[in-house]
């Protein structure tokens, strides 16, 4: 096997399905942080990953499912051999009609909300991919690499 193939090998993977209840977001955060700890992330990086997953799952609950607690949010979390995490957050809710607008900082369809969820995901992860279809649901893919340890300069 050459180096490239090895890089794309899965190191570990979990799948999590939760009922769309606000009280489950803390559980998802704790679970994600514990799983991500299998990689060489700093505590600060783990905190940023917790924030991103919290935003994505909260969005599925509030916006995707309009707070209907009997729907389900699915998560697929993969740790890659080459040092990265990929978190897929999927709902089968209402979907997003205008993705570009939805991802603009401070845009929100809910009064009283900040409209900063996507902005947080984008600034605290390396890559954020969103796929959505009206009436079918939304998938958010969050990726974050493990930083190479900085060489100390003597």
């Amino acid at each position: 096997m050459n180096v490239n193939e090895k890089d794309f090998r899965v190191k570990n993977q979990i799948r999590l399905t939760i009922q769309s209840r606000a009280e489950n977001v803390a559980f998802v955060r704790a679970c994600t942080a514990a799983f991500a700890s299998q990689m060489d992330y700093t505590l600060e990086e783990i905190d940023e990953i917790r924030l991103a997953v919290s935003e994505a799952v909260s969005n599925s609950i509030i916006h995707g499912y309009k707070n209907d607690p009997y729907s389900q949010v699915e998560l697929y979390i993969t740790l890659w051999e080459n040092g990265g995490i990929e978190i897929v957050v999927e709902d089968h809710g209402c979907g997003i009609a205008d993705l570009k607008q939805a991802m603009e900082p401070t845009f929100s369809t809910e009064p009283g909300r900040m409209g900063l969820g996507f902005a947080f995901m984008q600034s605290f992860m390396d890559q954020v991919e969103v796929k959505s279809r009206v009436g079918q649901g939304t998938t958010v893919i969050l990726k974050r690499k493990v930083r190479q340890p900085v060489e100390s300069k003597n």
Binding site: A22, E23, V25, A26, R29, E44, D47, R50, L51, S54, E55, S58, I61, I62, G112, R113, M114, L116, G117, A119, F120, S123
Partner: protein, 112 residues
Amino acid sequence: MQLEVKPKGHTVFVYIKGEIDLQETERLRQEVDRYIDHHGMDHLVFDLTQVNFIDSSGVGGIIGRYRKMKDIGGKMSIVGAKPTVEKVLIFSGIQKIIPLYQTEKDRIKAEK
């Protein structure tokens, strides 16, 4: 999240412990608003010394209380946010409308 509301003169302190997310923001809103509605106050201070997580729902909750205080002619401050929490607050731009202080001492000194 644990929440304690403590009045000291015309200033009311809200001590929060734990995580402020979607779920907990709703509780924060209810308890703090009930207090404001029943007692009124000049100054609301959120003490976040023991908060280890906040997301955009939590920030929205804090700004909502700020708006309520502004409506009754009062003011609001935030004290003790740890670096991870402070980073989220500053990213949201909250410091442009609500002053942030490292400690209660700093706040007293600055607001005297």
